[in-house]
Amino acid sequence: MSSTASGSRSGQRLYRIGEVARRTGFSVDTLRYYERIGLLRPVNRAQSGVRLYGEAELSRLRFIQRAKAMHFSLDEIGRLLEMREDPQHARDEVRELTRRKLAEVEASLTALASLRDELTLLVNLCHGSEGGCPIIRDLDGEG
């Protein structure tokens, strides 16, 4: 049996939980848990009772994935999803949280850019040097 349901919602493709797990990297248990705690809205179900996820749920899950990569808590992610769902009517507290998280992301980008530049420099130094990689040898020597 295909893991993709044959059903559709307003003509969009719908996915069974196993397919969503494969596409997002979340486990089936995690997907059920996210629904239970409200990070995912209750998903549609086929007549057989099988959960069916649409593109909106996948988009939400991708957002959760990115936010988790930034080490946001599930509670924070839930409130950010509230903002994402209806930015015009988000509560002030949620707007403030969104601003704070934006600042955290920007700080991470700055740190990552610096790390990227440093690694680029190291790679270029090794590439442009004669007889191997003097940088790595010197750094090893510090230990």
Partner: protein, 98 residues
């Protein structure tokens, strides 16, 4: 006050010696020699500073805290870059090298 030039190099760098030679030839100009002081910086020793200046490869030439050349510039280009940054030189003549 002298214009400070820093030449970022690394031991074993194939073209860093050429960059030093170019810098020395540029500073053979007596007017520049009098106004410019330079030092060689080992990137390994000052990695944070190098990254902060935007250096992504060596050799790199920094003039007054500004990364101006990466690689080995032509003597004439380096002279022009130095002259443009001397105290009293017009800022409009500055041109960033690569």
């Amino acid at each position: 006050m002298n214009l400070q030039v820093e030449l970022f190099t690394v031991p074993g760098c194939a073209t860093c010696g050429q960059a030093i030679a170019v810098l020395e030839r540029a500073l053979a100009d007596p007017a520049l020699a009098a106004a410019v002081s330079w030092r060689r910086v080992d990137v390994v020793a000052e990695l944070d500073r190098a990254v902060g200046l935007g250096i992504l490869a060596t050799p790199a030439i920094v003039i007054g805290d500004e990364l101006v050349f990466t690689g080995v510039p032509a003597v004439a280009s380096l002279r022009l870059a130095l002259q443009a940054r001397l105290p009293g030189a017009g800022a409009g003549t500055r041109e960033r090298g690569t």
